[in-house]
Amino acid sequence: MSTGWWTASAKWGVTLGANLDELYREVILDHCQNPRRMGAMEHPTHSLGLHNPTCGDKIAVDLRVEDGRIADYRFSGHGCSISMASASMLGDAVVGKTVAEAEQVAQGFVRFLTGDPSTASPAGDLEALAGVKNFPARVKCATLAHNALMEALEGAARPPGPH
C-alpha cells in the first residue's frame, strides 16, 4: 500500500496532460477561432460525416475530386478546439494533392497520433497537433476529420450500388 504523497505522472512513468500549452499551441487556437474552409460544398464528389461517441460532436467533410486531385475541401459540424482546428488544418494539407497523397497525409497523421513509432511527425500547420499524442483522450478529437476524409475517399473506391 502506498503511503505519503506522490505525483501521478511520475509514478506512472508517463507524461499525461503535463503541459497544457503543449496541447493548445497558438496556431491551434487561431485555426479554432478562424476556421479555414468551413461550410458546406455545393456539389461534392465525396462526402462523409463522423461523430465522436463520447461527446456527440460531429465533423462532416466534403471533397471535390477532379482528375485524381483534391480540387476542393470543406468541413462542417461542431466540436472542441482540437477537432475544429484539425479539420481546418486538414484542408490546407490536402487541397491540390492527388487522392493517394491526401490519403497518405490523413493516414500518416492518424498513425502518428495513435503511437505508431515509424511514422514521421505531420507537416505544415498539422505539426502543431503533434502534442495531442500526450493526451490520449483527445486523439479521437484530433483525428475525426482525417478519418472522415479517408472514409469518404475509400467509400468511392468501392463498387457503386447499395452496400
Binding site: 500500500m1 502506498s2 503511503t3 505519503g4 504523497w5 506522490w6 505525483t7 501521478a8 505522472s9 509514478k11 496532460g17 503535463a18 503541459n19 497544457l20 496541447l23 493548445y24 487556437l29 463520447t54 461527446c55 456527440g56 460532436d57 461542431h78 466540436g79 472542441c80 478546439s81 482540437i82 493526451f135 483527445r138 478529437c141
Partner: protein, 414 residues
Amino acid sequence: MTTTPATTAPPTWAAVAQAFPALRQTVNGHRLVYLDSAATSLKPQAVIDAVVEYYADYPSNVHRSVHTLAGRATEAYEAARARVAAFVGADAQSLVFTRGTTEGLNLVASGWARRHLRPGDEILLTPAEHHSNLVPWQQVAKATGARLVFAPLTADGRLTAEAIRASFTSRTRLAAVAHVSNVLGTENPIRELVALAHRQDAVVVVDGAQSAPHLPVSVAALGVDFFAFSAHKMCGPTGIGALYGRPERLREADPLLFGGEMIAEVDQEHATWADVPYRFEGGTPHVAGAIGWGAAVAFLERLGMDHIAAHSRALAMDAAARLAALPRVSVYGPAGGRQAVVAFNYDGVHPHDVAQVLDSQGIAVRAGHHCAQPLMAALSIQSSVRASFYLYNTREDVDRLVDGLREVGRYFGR
C-alpha cells in the same frame, strides 16, 4: 433492517477523505480534486483490504466445494449479499448480483418485460434517462409491440407527480425511471409513481445508480418492483452490482444467462432452474467484487447515509450557486433540491476544453453527453461539463473548481 444506523454527529469529512488512498496524489502539480464520482467513485482502504484478503487468503469458488477455503468464500459471499440487501431495505433472497446497473435493467427488460408486455402496452419513461434505462426499453418495444411514452419534464428539468399522472394511461404496464438523474441531480417522485402504478398492477423499475451511493434507500418503503444499482459508484469494486426484485416478480422472469450455478437439474435435452436469486446468477460469480462491496456498504453505514446525503447535497448546491454566478457559465437543472451532481457549460468553450484546462489544475470532471443524448437534445446542447460530489469532497474542492473555471476563461480569452 434499517439502512442507516442512528449516528449522532456528522463525521469530520476531512478525516473521512484520508481513508481514500487515491486522494494522496498530485495531478499536474496540484492536489487531486476528484469531481467525477457520478462516473465512478474512489475506493476506501477498507474495501481494497477486503478484496486483497479474498485474493490472498481464500481465493476460492463458492457454493460448490466442501473444502475449507470454499466454505469461507461462500460464507463471505453470502454475507455480502445479505449486507448489500439490508443496505437498501431488502432480504438477501430478493437480491441478484449483476455486473452493474446496466445488466440489472437489461435483466428486467429481457427477462421480465419481453415475456409480459403485449402490443399496445405502454412503457413510461422520462427524457432524462441514462442510455442504460432507455435503450433496453426501445428493444422491448421493438420485440413486443409496446410503446414508449415519455413523461415531460418541467422547464427547469424536474419530473413532477402531475406529469407522471398526466402521462399514465390504462395501457401503462411498466414505468422505468431513475431515482436520481445523473445529469440534473434531481430526485424523482418514486413513491407517487409506485402508488399510481400499483393501482393498475403496473411494474415500477427504478434505476438506482445515482441514488444508492447518496441517499438512504429502502425498496420496501418505496414499494418498487425492481431496483438496479452498481457497487463502483458507491465506494465498491468494479464489475459488480445488484438487482433487487420483489420475489414474486423475480419468479416471473426468465434468466439472461444459462449455465453453472443457476441450474437445478440437467439432462441432455432439458434443464430446470435453481430458486431465485441464484437462477439469475449463471457462471462463476464475481466473488471478490461482492465481498469488497460488502465492505463498502459497511463503510458507508458506519458514517451514516443521512450524513453522506446532506454532505454531498450541500457541496453540490453550493457549487451550483457559485458556478451560476460566474460570467458565461450556465448551470442545468433546478435551482433547488439538487443531489450530488452539477452539469454546466462555459459559453464559447467546448466541454472537452473546459475539462482539459481543469485537469491541468488537478481537477477531474467529466465532459460529454453523460450517456443521456436525448436529454442533451432537450437542453439543445451536444454535451456539458459535469462536476459530481461525494463524501470525500470538501468546501475547498468547490473553491478549486470555481478558481479553475476562472482560469478556463483566462486561458481561452473569454
